[in-house]
């Protein structure tokens, strides 16, 4: 009977952790691929106003972003505190908006050029004058689809 003798001390064998690095690497690669790094650093204050009747923005490759607001603290010495427009990584004037839109449009694929949306990411404290000027420029270059990018929230927050 000794042939079938039970092993002494029926301890469970330790689970091999050799494949743990592989699993973690797999996750790592997923996040590396899925990560979208912010493509332009914000140089303006950008507290978006709140709205609750919002629609989702289109896919990212169909959107052009225009930022506006007061320059951030570290740019205030140089550029003052008046609200400014930011296109890509540079401050710009209203006159540059048209050229920016045309350049952005030309860089997109042909089939997307007619469905582009301009997202206006504007700080809540900005005066409407600047936004109206931007809108006039957009009309001149026929970029008529716009989106006032907002944060999700009750509109009453805006009135404080």
């Amino acid at each position: 009977m000794s042939k079938f003798k039970k092993k002494k001390g029926g301890e469970l064998p330790a689970i091999s952790t050799a494949s743990l690095p592989d699993i973690v690497f797999m996750l790592l690669f997923f996040f590396m691929v899925a990560t979208v790094m912010r493509d332009s650093t914000l140089m303006v204050a950008n507290t978006l106003p709140a709205a609750d009747q919002v629609q989702k923005l289109d896919k990212k490759d169909r959107v052009m972003y225009i930022y506006a607001g007061k320059p951030s603290d570290r740019y205030q010495d140089k550029f003052g505190t008046q609200p400014k427009i930011q296109l890509n990584d540079k401050f710009a004037t209203v006159a540059d908006v048209g050229a920016f839109i045309l350049a952005e449009r030309a860089s997109k694929r042909q089939e997307l050029q007619n469905v582009l949306t301009t997202a206006l990411k504007v700080d809540g404290e900005t005066n409407m004058g600047l936004i109206t000027d931007i809108k006039q420029e957009l009309r001149k270059v026929n970029a008529l689809k716009i989106n006032y990018t907002t944060r999700n929230g009750d509109y009453m927050q805006n009135l404080k």
């Binding site: 979208v36 629609q55 004058g129 990018t149």
Partner: protein
């Protein structure tokens, strides 16, 4: 010298290194989903022959530089704007071919004929705050959504969706093509009943 085999490198810390990297990417990842109010600007070319719109079919909203609201020549709080806009759009005071059979409003002869004729004109000052402007826009869109939800529920009682939810499903890329095809005519029908006619006038200069 006796041939010595190279000692095996301990790979036990590999998992720790990978975890560290993983956590870094987890923290820096922002899967951004921007949302906002979609608007369409009017084209630049001048309309040679602007259509004549009756005064009672225009709902004027003016926001001045102190962020106060003037609606139809009367001051109003923003919290009352949605209701006022709904009442205006849903009035249905028209007669004959302008009659509106689905409107449930007061049928006031001094207010809009039907939703198709009704235009909301939003005018702002150059010194108006952007956030107040967005609040006003939000309320006006909300007024349209209230009415569209109502009509959508009336026309599609079995769907169990409101217009806003259906529209969201329609624009969601995960929704199947067949469902999109089914939703499209229903959405278009309601949009035709309450077309969004929101005109943004050029701002007044501050004197």
């Amino acid at each position: 010298m006796a041939k010595r085999s190279a000692p095996e490198v301990n790979a036990g810390s590999m998992a720790d290194i990978a975890f560290l990297l993983l956590i870094f990417f987890l923290v820096t990842t922002t899967i951004e989903t921007d949302s906002g109010l979609n608007r369409k600007l009017p084209p630049m070319e001048d309309v040679v022959d602007p259509p004549i719109i009756k005064e009672r079919n225009i709902f004027t909203v003016v926001v001045n530089k102190n962020n106060d609201l003037l609606v139809e020549e009367k001051p109003l709080e923003i919290s009352e704007l949605r209701e006022a806009a709904v009442a205006f759009l849903d009035n249905g005071g028209g007669k004959g071919e302008d009659a509106c059979d689905y409107c449930q409003g007061a049928r006031d002869t001094d207010s809009s004929d039907n939703p198709d004729k009704a235009v909301i004109s939003l005018k702002n000052d150059r010194e108006t705050d952007y956030k107040v402007y967005i609040a006003v826009q939000n309320e006006l869109v909300a007024a349209y959504n209230v009415l569209r939800n109502r009509e959508f529920a009336r026309l599609n009682p079995n769907l169990g969706l409101s217009f806003v939810e259906a529209d969201r499903r329609y624009s969601d890329p995960r929704t199947s093509t067949s469902e999109k095809e089914a939703l499209k005519p229903k959405l278009a029908e309601v949009k035709l009943l309450f077309p969004q006619k929101l005109s943004e006038a050029e701002p007044s200069k501050t004197n």
